[in-house]
């Protein structure tokens, strides 16, 4: 019999319907579709800087000019943005309909000039620079308070939603706190009152003690397969030091985060034969905003990474109910991932 499990923070139930005796290879995605790109041309490659909008940030050797070669990490506005910069939008109402201008920020973080590298192939210092770049951009965008939430995420592979194969991540700032972040904020606030401590600090302690869903732990971070995951091999990276904001990351911590992320992505690649994946950061909203609704956000929220390999398809059951059917218990997934690479 399968098991129903509740994610304590979001209140979401998932169905863990183990297909027994399966090996990780059985969850390997269908042969990965190659992203079709015009041969010999990639707007993210070194030398093609003029093919993107003008850079908003780049890490380059001293004296090198913007929008020219000689960079390590480069951030540009998305050429086809979902949201565009502007003044704080007004919510319009016409009877039962509500809308506002699509004001926001949409940037691309080009992680390396090298088209054929992957995030998990980069040397540690380089990966650390990518993580520091996320932080710098978030801090800069948050200076404008109309951007209530800044979402950092990566889609790797076509099945995971990437349209270009050159390694990149994205940053989208929205004029509204996203629904899922709101749910987590409220859940964490409620649980902080109930347990008298941050629920994620509690999860880290309990998962470390139990050990069966713990994938790795070092002095600054731990990686866990969550108790009620939506997807097979879903993982979380939690910082051991409590903080609501990714932007509180210290230099020492970004080095350890680079190590942790590289090991985790490397293990994912080995265990599941290089699957497409998504990852994103969850953190508290723009700290420059008044946050009456989450008076306690600093104590109750705990920033983290969520990593989702794309192995199953979401269908009519999930879209209609918000339940997820996950064929791999997180204890099984953690065991496979822990043992690999």
């Amino acid at each position: 019999m399968s098991e129903l499990r509740k994610d304590i923070i979001s209140g979401r139930w998932v169905i863990i319907a183990a297909e027994r005796g399966k090996r990780p290879d059985d969850f390997r995605p269908a042969p990965v579709e190659k992203i079709k790109e015009p041969a010999g041309f990639c707007p993210f490659c070194e030398g093609n800087e003029s093919k993107t909008p003008r850079e908003v940030y780049a890490l380059r050797k001293n004296g090198k000019r913007p929008d020219r070669p000689g960079w390590l990490v480069r951030v540009v506005p998305n050429k086809f943005p979902a949201l565009t910069r502007g003044i704080p939008p007004v919510q319009h109402e016409d009877g039962i309909f509500r809308w506002m201008d699509g004001v926001g920020v949409h940037e691309v973080v080009i992680e390396t000039p090298d088209h054929d590298k992957e995030l998990s192939d980069l040397p540690l210092y380089h990966l650390q620079h990518v993580l520091e770049t996320y932080k710098k951009r978030v801090v800069s965008i948050e200076e404008e308070f109309q951007y209530k939430y800044v979402h950092v995420f990566k889609n790797k592979g076509r099945e995971a939603g990437a349209s270009l194969s050159h390694p990149h991540s994205q940053i989208v700032a929205t004029p509204i706190i996203p629904k899922k972040v709101n749910e987590e904020l409220y859940g964490c606030e409620r649980l902080h009152r109930q347990y008298g401590e941050c629920i994620v600090c509690r999860i880290i302690r309990d998962e470390t003690r139990k050990g069966d869903r713990l994938i790795l732990r070092n002095d600054h971070f731990c990686v866990v397969a969550p108790f009620a995951p939506r997807f097979p091999f879903e993982m979380r990276i939690y910082p051991l030091r409590h903080s609501a904001w990714y932007t509180s990351l210290t230099k020492a911590e970004s080095f350890w985060l680079a190590r942790t992320l590289r090991t985790t992505l490397g293990k994912l690649k080995t265990t599941l034969s290089d699957p497409p994946y998504n990852f994103y950061i969850h953190q508290a909203p723009n700290p420059n905003l008044p946050h009456e609704a989450w008076a306690n956000v600093e104590e109750s929220f705990h920033w983290h990474f969520e990593i989702i390999p794309v192995l199953t398809r979401v269908a009519g059951f999930e879209w209609g109910t918000g339940f997820y059917i996950n064929p791999v218990p997180p204890e099984t997934a953690a065991g496979f991932v822990r043992g690999s690479g």
Copy 2:
């Protein structure tokens, strides 16, 4: 500039980021992946009745025996069920972890004995029988009150989550009211208080008057591209007669629903070159349950179909935020669909 739109019932915001000048063909899915099946064998085909669990219902000619050929529509338990029948499950707690046995129902509705037909190819009387079968099964499952919600849905095509190509839909009954249904119930209850009438009745009136998102309307149903759709070409079928439960469908209405569904699926097929799709029914929870939480559910909730063609990929932005980026405004989608077939 794109537009942010709010779904008034769920409170979900979507980003309508129109890619101008595109034709419906531009949203055509990648060449549809064929579902690989062992040649010459399908457990849902007539003659292979012994390959499925024993049928729980079938529409057959008088005098024909169960689990033999001679049926028009056949319902069997799912051979690999997500949930299985049992006594009302107890919620277990261990510290911060919550779970229960996976008690529920998981059935397959085989829509036709003919492997190569599609739901939208069936003659009207046959499609009406499929819709009547949904109703019969829901009524029967709801006799057991541990099944709080019965979800009827269809996945067509591999990209939409189907693992067999023989035309079928599924029924899953859960011991918990699903999160998304709960959100709609609460939203409709709140809006019923605010507007003094069912919000869906109001939506039907407003969309009929405006007309730009209306796809079709007959004496009993209307088809609408919703104001804030998550996905390109998402559609809703609303019954004009207010009712919270699909199971209130009369014979006359099931005939008109068959016509409406067939026309809608036919138009989808023509406009988007036969895309994979999901549809599901949203209705109020099991009426045999006490429903204190939605005292007013009968007046405030309005059952309907939601239809989602699978044309885009959900990625790190959507998973992390609950926002959706939709490149096709519903007014454009409605125009294309209305004009087709």
